[in-house]
Symmetry: C2
Subunit: 404 residues, 2 copies
């Protein structure tokens, strides 16, 4: 079936969502349709077009003028951890000193946690993300930092997502203090051996205080040699070599991008690298927001993601990130929603999600609002009425009738 072409008989098992006030497809030809309908069949989008031309289907959902958009693609999240750091957060916000904060707090708690406890926390967060409209998410390791703990984190992550990222090079663990080369050897050697089978991606935190250019390049090269795709944490806290390293490694995405030189910007556009912006981290640390407008105006592909983690950004809300992107990063509502869906898909090199073209995975959100703009216009308000994942109603409730 093609767009706009009516189908005379109902497709078995198909679902028609009709009376869609605004359908965000992210397709080049018709990125945004009004008075639209969409048919789901076999877990994929089978048809989109004007509501008046919709084909019959086995069941019908009346969107009642509300908006439908692709499920969010959250391409940057750290979800395998134990413990929490709300007291550290509250102290940071109040400008009070706080002892023993930081990633290593979470590393200690994660190492000490049982598989059962880690799995429960991970599944709780994954379910929370789905209720908020996130139908694809990436999940990193990085709080184990031993061979066994990193491999365990990735095996757990693989239970809930296909987008698993090996981040052994998150920080240098205490037992390697003063021996960064020794830790990089571990990350590129035995730890990678144990982790690569569980992962699709390799990542490194390239920043002063974490890993430098040569170390980051080594980590990404080792991962690539094992068939992993590369991604990077770069230029979050200050300028640095991360963008260049990412481009040289053929990375899919450079994440954070808060401090970019003009040369970095050129590299992002020409490599190309997706620039994945994580405004939750700036919200949670009071750092300045990345300059999305500058990236977009230069022609860069921008993604938005949550950076969900218990330290710097414990939000799992893509809607919240969209609102920040519009208010504090000068993205238009369309750009922000694109970045949170199609942008995330690009950052993960996925073509099956992040859009609602025919053949795309039927991952979609029914908003309790007439347009995508409400995600920024009504910040903080839960507006996800229903979520479909691979065509199955995964969260929320809708009244579905049977087609005549």
């Amino acid at each position: 079936m093609t767009v706009g072409q009516a189908c005379p008989v109902a497709i078995p098992g198909s679902t028609l969502i009709t009376q869609i006030g605004e359908l965000v497809t992210n397709e080049a030809e018709r990125p945004l349709m009004t008075d639209a309908a969409l048919v789901i069949e076999d877990g994929a989008v089978a048809w989109t077009g004007p509501a008046g031309q919709a084909p019959a289907a086995d069941s019908v959902v009346d969107a009642e003028g509300r908006a439908v958009l692709p499920g969010f693609v959250d391409s940057h999240a750290h979800l395998v951890f134990a413990g929490e750091r709300s007291a550290e957060f509250a102290a940071r916000m109040a400008g009070r000193p706080y002892q023993a904060g930081g990633i290593l707090t979470t590393v200690a708690a994660t190492r000490a946690a049982s598989d059962t406890a880690l799995r429960a926390n991970l599944r709780r967060l994954a379910a929370e993300m789905l209720r908020q409209g996130t139908t694809t998410f990436e999940c990193k390791s990085g709080y184990g930092l031993t061979v066994a703990d990193e491999a365990r984190a990735l095996a757990l992550a693989a239970e809930v997502t296909g987008e698993v990222t090996y981040l052994g090079a998150h920080v240098v663990p205490p037992e390697f203090a003063g021996d960064v080369p020794g830790y990089v050897d571990l990350v590129c050697g035995p730890m990678l051996d144990a982790c690569a089978p569980h992962a699709r991606w390799v990542d490194v935190f390239c920043e002063d205080g974490a890993f430098g250019a040569d170390e980051a390049a080594a980590v990404l090269a080792a991962g690539r040699a094992r068939g992993l795709g590369a991604r990077i944490h770069a230029n979050q806290l200050g300028p640095g070599p991360g963008i260049r390293v990412a481009a040289q490694a053929g990375a899919a995405s450079a994440d954070h991008c808060t401090y970019l030189t003009d040369a970095d910007l050129d590299t992002i556009v020409s490599a190309p690298l997706v620039a994945t912006l994580l405004p939750g981290a700036e919200f949670g640390t009071r750092h300045p927001y990345p300059d999305a407008r500058r990236l977009l105006d230069a022609g860069a592909t921008v993604a938005l993601a949550t950076d969900c983690n218990p330290g710097s950004s414990f939000t799992s809300s893509m809607a919240f990130c969209i609102a920040l992107a519009v208010r504090d990063m000068r993205m238009t509502t369309q750009e922000a929603v694109w970045a949170a869906t199609a942008g995330g898909a690009r950052a993960l090199r996925r073509t099956d999600v992040g859009h609602l073209g025919v053949g795309a995975r039927a991952d979609l959100i029914l908003l309790d609002a007439p347009s995508h703009a409400y995600l920024a216009y009504r910040p903080g308000v839960p507006q996800i009425a229903a979520v479909w994942q691979s065509g199955h109603l995964a969260a929320g409730t809708v009244s579905a009738g049977t087609a005549s």
Copy 2:
């Protein structure tokens, strides 16, 4: 019953909420308890104390270590309106010009709307607020601006809340353009006659472009003469006489307070006036946030409210306002939660809500988190597990057992 004193037999119809990880009472003696329990009886808080000393009750809810806090008190909202302004919002955020925006757009839509349409929109928003933990809210008129339309708005508001505010002096309507004194005479005369029976409060928008000092004082004095309490919109867009006018009128609260001179600050503290801060409005317009820290450090009583309205701040989320207050207004998590509960109650001169002392109305929130700090620590994430209003479970679900 008194705090900490066990009751040997179950109170008929009572509910015990136990295993509360953190109980925010806002009581002077024990504002925050851990490992606590609370008993609801006849719609009120009957007992609070250590979980280990909890009395028996007819039914028991296990909070499983999660936090319980007073229901939010949203003391500033504009909910009787028709239409929406998402396109105006998107244009403002994108820096694009937009014709025919502003309050008068909403006035025209509201005048044209049926009672049924206004009621449906109002009830939808009220239900949305309740689901988000707001158990008391104020609701203003101000989009009618004729005798009949203002009275209608207030009658509708009175269907959903006891905190009804007459805001005929929101802006000067088009039919009085160039005749502000004529409109003020209407507001203080026939419009007040029609509106006072439905309202508890009178409010005025004292700002350049709306109403000046003498006009605002006249409106508040007329309302007070009819038995209404006074409140004011002041110093939102620039310095002005609003704080002085509010103090002279014996107002309960001065709302916005974005631009305050030292003299204004002194007046707020000495009058005293509650300073009600509305960060949703600054979020939605990119104005600078009010300086909550300065107010608190001077000893002012601060409230947080949503300013929910279709133009400048279409959030209904008190949790979102708390997160902004902590991140962008330098309030501690405790100060922000107090301001969103007890502060709102002070702004409405209510002693029965905003706290969980014995005798208070049993308006409370079960958070899906172990502490109040999560409202800022996890911005944008829906965390309201359940809401009780006057002791009745009003939103969310809990597993309630029967006490042995």
